[in-house]
């Protein structure tokens, strides 16, 4: 019994010759970097559940796109953005706990999405693609969009890195230093919502959160220096994407879940290694 879809190096090289495979690998690496970069702040600002909610809200945009016979990708971006900003507005303007607001928005969006999808006549293949994604289907436009988003995120975060760290750490001290805390939060949410929308096509609603949370959480286990943590998060995000794509090609697994599986294994391995290291450190100290 052969578990491998690709058994020789030449077959693997041949697989990598296909333009769709090259686009998928480049797309996966870019999304890994984007997820690692934004995810660093997502995990520190306790926004993990936020990206999950925005991901589910994207269903509304996709369904509307199908119903109105528009390009679902272009409907995905504004709907994710709108939901992201609405969620943040509710969090900032009410006394309710953020997880309650996220649950309310997520449930409401999911209900609207499911009802709208029931109005679609005939084939609903697009909706399955939203749930599970297909990285092999990403095209040139998606890649350009991802590059632009990665560049915008990098410029925004690195040019204001000290301010971003301080407002994440303690908003009151940041405000006293003259940092426009609310404006920065909204800018970040805009980038995050767009990143979720772009990544949904590749990995689907159900797994999009992994790209934002797992690499950053793994990096957090390793480093307590912020710059190293940020760099590690981006490196882990991109490296696990490449390895995940190779695993996907070797075993003929679905690409998105393969990347997430690699991220998960790396996280578990890092966790075990850090526990062992701490135990040894204590023993020898």
């Amino acid at each position: 019994m052969n578990f491998f879809a690709v058994t020789t190096i030449s077959e693997l090289v041949a697989l990598l010759q296909y333009p769709f495979m090259q686009r998928a690998i480049v797309g996966a690496v870019l999304m890994g970097m984007l997820g690692g970069l934004l995810g660093s702040f997502v995990t520190l600002r306790q926004l993990s559940f936020f990206s999950h909610a925005v991901g589910h809200a994207a269903l509304v945009g996709i369904t509307l796109g199908v119903l109105l016979q528009l390009n679902p990708t272009w409907m995905l971006l504004p709907s994710s953005l709108a939901f992201g900003v609405i969620v943040l507005y509710f969090i900032e303007k009410t006394d309710l706990a953020s997880d309650s607001i996220l649950s309310i928005i997520l449930s409401g969006a999911l209900a609207i999405g499911i009802i709208l999808s029931s109005l679609i006549q005939g084939y609903r293949g697009n909706l399955m693609a939203v749930l599970f994604g297909d990285i092999l289907a990403i095209d040139r436009k998606d890649l350009i969009l991802t590059v632009l988003l990665l560049a915008a995120s990098a410029i925004f975060l690195f040019s204001t890195l000290g301010q971003q760290i301080l407002l994440t750490l303690n908003p009151a001290v940041a405000k006293v230093q003259g940092i426009a805390v609310e404006l920065h939060r909204y800018c970040f949410i805009v980038l995050l919502s767009l990143a979720v929308a772009v990544a949904i096509k590749a990995v689907g609603v159900l797994l999009v959160n992994a790209f934002l949370v797992i690499p950053a959480s793994t990096a957090k286990l390793i480093s307590h220096h912020f710059r190293r943590f940020l760099l590690l998060s981006v490196l882990i995000g991109s490296a696990t994407s490449i390895i995940g794509m190779i695993v996907s090609g070797l075993f003929n697994f679905a690409s998105g879940p393969s990347i997430v599986l690699v991220q998960f294994v790396v996280f578990i391995g890092t966790f075990g290694w850090t526990r062992l290291w701490k135990r040894c450190g204590k023993k020898f100290s």
Binding site: S159, N170, V173, K175, V176, K220, H224, F226
Partner: protein, 270 residues
């Protein structure tokens, strides 16, 4: 001796929290190179007053000027303002070292911006490039000096989540010391610090005041330290009960009026 100038001016400040009037018609001024303490019982509105001064909470009425300007129009002057909150609440697993945290207080292009603005050559392009460029030696030296001054240099590579309450206060003070400030606002900054540590802090504040002309406004519960080190005391209980030099403001009658019956003062010596 240089003339003292008004660093902070509070006029007719009233703050409501919901329907509760937390602060009523508070007015006072701080002169440069002075150390002023706000004292009062729990719930007297001390932290609320500090937060209203810093524009962290909305005020119902009143005017506040820092360095002669409304706080919303301070611009780059904000870097001359240092603040340590009562509770520095943060995620204990936040991946940041002590040196990195102290470095956040450093504004490396501050001096250059001031110089360029004077010459009318200020460029946002320069400011952005300076901000994203790697750490420079000047910053590293300033961080090390600030940490040494607060006796926290040995903690520089430690994660901030591993610090004790007292160590964290030292590091936060170093964050304020990393560049020159004109006004330092401390909201019970020494709570949780041991007796010797508190005495060291007060001595350091005294040095900053006398040698570098810093102005300090602090909320404190330590009446004895306030008596020994502060120039002026504001006794607060929703409104100002009394104000003046410690010998006058902290008289038995004034403390009774501020804290109410049942107040008694215990002396400690350090």
């Amino acid at each position: 001796m240089t003339d003292k100038i008004t660093i902070l001016k509070v006029e007719g400040l009233t703050v409501y929290q919901g329907n509760y009037q937390a602060i009523r018609d508070v007015s006072f001024e701080l002169l440069s190179g002075t150390n002023t303490a706000i004292v009062g019982p729990n719930g007297a509105g001390k932290s609320t007053l500090v937060q209203a001064i810093l524009d962290l909470i909305p005020r119902s009425s009143g005017q506040i000027e820092i360095f002669g300007r409304p706080i919303s129009k301070l611009g780059n002057l904000r870097h001359q303002l240092g603040y340590i909150p009562q509770h520095f609440i943060f995620d204990r697993s936040f991946p940041i070292s002590v040196a990195e945290l102290v470095g956040l207080g450093w504004n490396k292009n501050y001096k250059e911006i001031q110089r360029q603005k004077k010459q009318g050559k200020f460029s946002w392009v320069f400011a952005t490039i300076a901000r994203i460029s790697p750490q420079n030696q000047e910053k590293t030296a300033a961080v090390a000096a600030a940490l040494r001054r607060t006796d926290a240099y040995h903690l520089r590579n430690q994660a901030i989540g591993t610090l004790s309450g007292g160590q964290l206060k030292r590091v936060l003070l170093a964050y304020c010391l990393v560049m020159p400030r004109k006004l330092l606002i401390l909201d019970e900054a020494f709570a949780g610090v041991d007796v010797q540590g508190t005495a060291d802090f007060y001595t350091l504040l005294n040095e900053l005041k006398q040698e570098e002309g810093w102005t300090v406004l602090q909320v404190s519960h330590d009446i004895n330290m306030v008596s020994n080190y502060c120039d002026r005391v504001i006794c607060l209980n929703q409104t100002i009960i009394c104000t003046g030099a410690p010998a006058i403001a902290l008289s038995a009658a004034n403390l009774l009026a501020t804290y109410g019956p049942g107040f008694s003062r215990y002396q400690h010596h350090h």
